[in-house]
C-alpha cells in the first residue's frame, strides 16, 4: 500500500518548544454544605484538585468545567411499603425535566406466584398502564423509569409502589469566580499563579449521564504563567427551585479539563 505524503508542520521544526506535561491530579469529591431546601441557592468551593504543568515551557493553559445534570439516582428508588416485595427496588435513571417527580404504581389485577406477568398502572410525572414481566425491568413511559417485579411472588390489587426521583435544571450550576481559591503547591507563586475566571457563567449541564456540550472556562494560566502545581478549588453556585426539590441526595459528576490550545 502506498504511503500517503506526510508533511511535518512548519511549526514542528526549529522554532518549536517542548510543552510541559499537563495534568489534573488528586481530585476530591465534594458534598456541598448542607443547606435548607428553602434557601434555593448555595455558593461554595467544590472539588479541590491539583492542576499542573510540569517541566513547562511557559505556553500557558486553561481549565474548564463541564457537568452532568444533578439527579436522584435510580438505585433504591421504589418504596414497596407493606406491599409484596419487588425483585429489587431499583429504577432506571429518570431523565425527565421535573426536579421533584413522583410516581405511583398500582397493581391492577392479582397475579399468582406462578404467573409470569403483572398488570399495572402508573401515575404521577407520567401516566399509563401495561403488563410487566416478572424479573425483567419494565419500562414505564419515556422518562427512564422502570420497575422490576419478583419472579414467583404473588401480587394483589392493593399493592402500591411509590418513587421520588428528579433532576435539577440544566442551568442549576454556575461559576462563582469570586469564590474560587487557587494556592501554590509547588513551583513559583506570585504572578506565576493561574487566575480564576468565568464570572458567574452558567455551566449548562448535559443529561444525568452526559457532560455539558460546551465546557466553561474557570481558571487560566497565560503564557509564561502557571508552571508548577496549583491547588484549585472552583467556586460554584448551585440553584434549585425550593418548591420543587425533594429532600433526597442529588448527585452529579463534573469534568475537569486542563487544555493547551489557542
Amino acid at each position: 500500500m502506498a504511503v500517503m505524503v506526510a508533511i511535518a508542520a512548519t511549526g514542528s521544526t526549529a522554532v518549536g518548544v517542548f510543552a510541559g506535561t499537563l495534568s489534573v491530579t488528586v481530585p476530591a469529591s465534594t458534598t456541598l454544605p448542607s443547606t435548607a431546601i428553602s434557601a434555593g441557592t448555595l455558593t461554595a468551593g467544590v472539588n479541590a484538585a491539583n492542576w499542573a504543568e510540569t517541566a513547562g515551557t511557559n505556553v500557558g493553559w486553561k481549565g474548564t468545567l463541564a457537568v452532568q445534570q444533578f439527579h436522584i439516582i435510580g438505585t433504591n428508588a421504589w418504596t414497596p411499603g407493606a406491599s409484596a416485595v419487588l425483585a429489587n427496588n431499583n429504577s432506571g435513571q429518570y431523565i425527565g425535566a421535573t426536579q421533584a417527580a413522583f410516581y405511583t404504581v398500582n397493581v391492577t389485577a392479582a397475579s399468582a406466584g406462578a404467573t409470569t406477568t403483572v398488570a399495572i398502572s402508573w401515575s404521577g410525572d407520567e401516566v399509563g398502564s401495561g403488563t410487566a414481566t416478572k424479573n425483567t425491568p419494565f419500562v414505564m413511559g419515556v422518562r427512564g423509569m422502570t420497575i422490576d417485579f419478583l419472579s414467583g411472588q404473588a401480587y394483589v390489587v392493593t399493592d402500591v409502589y411509590t418513587a421520588r426521583v428528579g433532576n435539577l435544571a440544566t442551568s442549576a450550576l454556575s461559576v462563582a469566580q469570586a469564590t474560587t481559591v487557587i494556592t501554590l503547591v509547588s513551583g513559583a507563586g506570585g504572578t506565576n499563579l493561574p487566575t480564576a475566571t468565568g464570572g458567574t457563567s452558567t455551566v449548562t449541564s448535559g443529561s444525568p449521564s452526559t457532560y455539558s456540550t460546551t465546557p466553561v472556562k474557570f481558571v487560566t494560566a497565560a503564557n509564561t504563567k502557571g508552571v508548577g502545581t496549583f491547588s484549585v478549588t472552583p467556586g460554584v453556585t448551585l440553584t434549585w427551585d425550593p418548591n420543587n426539590t425533594w429532600a433526597l441526595p442529588y448527585t452529579a459528576s463534573a469534568q475537569y479539563t486542563i487544555a493547551s490550545g489557542p
Binding site: 506526510a6 511535518a8 508542520a9 511549526g11 514542528s12 521544526t13 518549536g16 518548544v17 506535561t21 499537563l22 495534568s23 489534573v24 481530585p27 476530591a28 469529591s29 465534594t30 458534598t31 456541598l32 454544605p33 448542607s34 443547606t35 435548607a36 434557601a39 441557592t41 448555595l42 455558593t43 499542573a52 510540569t54 515551557t57 505556553v59 474548564t64 463541564a66 462563582a176 464570572g199 457563567s201 452558567t202 448535559g206 452526559t210 457532560y211 456540550t213 460546551t214 465546557p215 466553561v216 448551585l238 440553584t239 427551585d241 429532600a247 433526597l248 441526595p249 442529588y250 452529579a252 459528576s253 463534573a254 469534568q255 475537569y256 479539563t257 487544555a259 493547551s260 490550545g261 489557542p262
Partner: protein
Amino acid sequence: MKWPLHRTAALAAVLLLGAIVSFSLPVSAVGAGSPGVRPGERFPNGYFEYAAQPGTVIQGSLIITNLGDGPGRFLIYAGDGLTSPYTGVVYANRDKPLVDGPLGNGEYGAGAWISVPSTPVVLAPQQQTTVKFTVTVPKDSAPGDHVGAISAENPEPTLDSNGQFTLGVTQRTVQAVVVHIPNPIDTTGVHVGKPHVSTENHKRQLLNIPLEYRADVLAKPFMTFTVTDPQKKPVVHFDGQFDTFVPHSSIVYVYPLDNVLLPPANYCFDGDFGIKDHEQHFHYCFDVTASEANVPLPGQRGPHVAPATAFGPSVVIAVGGVFMVAFLLFLLLLRRKRCDHCNRRKFGHLIDVHDAGDIRGCAGCTAQYRKLKKLTLCRSCYRLHLRDVPAEPPPTPQAVQAPASS
C-alpha cells in the same frame, strides 16, 4: 492539679482548630489514575500546530503519563475545538466530539481529521506511553485555521454521596491540534443577531446576543455594546476584547445581568463587533416581556452563600470553635486584676499588701491603704515599693548592764 485557664483556652483552641481542619477536608480520590499529557514533538505554542495543504497526511505523537497515585485506564479520543458561549476555545466531550461549525456537524472542525487508537490506555502510576496519531487533511478543505484536539480522560468519577447535593469529578487532559491551511480568504467577517432577554432559574436575567464569527482564521474580536431603555438611558454596557473565536463559529453570547433588572419595555442595542480596526456596527431594538422580567431585583435574589446555621457539621464546628475561643479569651481578660498603684490590668496573681510598712515610701498607696484597709499591687510595683521604702531607723542601743566589778 489545677489547670490554668489560659492553658485550657490554648488547648481548646488547638483542638478546635484541628477539628475544623479535619472536618473541612474534602474526600480525596484514593488510588485514582490521572492522565498527564504532552506533545511528543516541539511546537511554537506548545500544542500541536501544523501548516498543511489540503490532502496532507500528518503523523504525530502524544506522550501520556499516569500522574495519579493508582492505576489508570484512560480513554483517548479526538474532538473539535469550538467557541464557548462565553467566548474562548473549549474542547468537545466524548459524548459529542464533533460539534463545530454553524450547522453543528463538524464541517469546520479538525476533530474528524484526527485518527487516534480507540483502545483505552492502561498505565500504572508514573508509567508512560506514546500514542501515535494521524491528521488527514481533506483534499477539499477550506483555507484558514481548523481546530481539533486529542483528549485523554479518566472517566471514573470520584463520588461521595453523603449529602443533599454531591459533585464528583473526572479528569481530562487536552492538547489542541490546529491545522493552518494557507491563503485564508475572509479574515474579518462577523455578524451580530438580534439580542433577547431570558430568565435563568427564576433568579436573574440573561442578555443573549447571537454572534457569528465568519472569518477563516482564529482571532480575539472586540465588542462594545450599550443597551438603552425607552428614555435612551444606558442600562447595560460592555467594552472589551473577547477570548478566541474558532473560525466559522456561531454562538449565543450569554451576558448575565447580575446587577440590573430590565423591566418590561422596549430596549435598543447598539454594538460594534469585530477584529481590531474592522469592527462592524449593529443596531437592534427588542422587547422585554413581563415573563422575561419575572426575577427578583438584584439585591433580593437570595443568599448566594447559605447562612452559617444551615451549614453542615464542618462549618458549624468552625463557627462554634471561633466563638468558643473568643469566649475563653474573654474569660481570660475578665480574670485580669487591676494594680492599685499603676492601675493596669495584669494576668496572674497580684499581691495583697498586709503590712503598711511595705508601702510607706508611696504616699498614694499609703493613703489608700489607710482608707480601704486593703491594697493590691502587681509584682513589679510591689518590688518597686519595697525598694523605695525608707530605711528603718537604726535600733536604739540597749543599755548594757555593766558587769559587776568584782
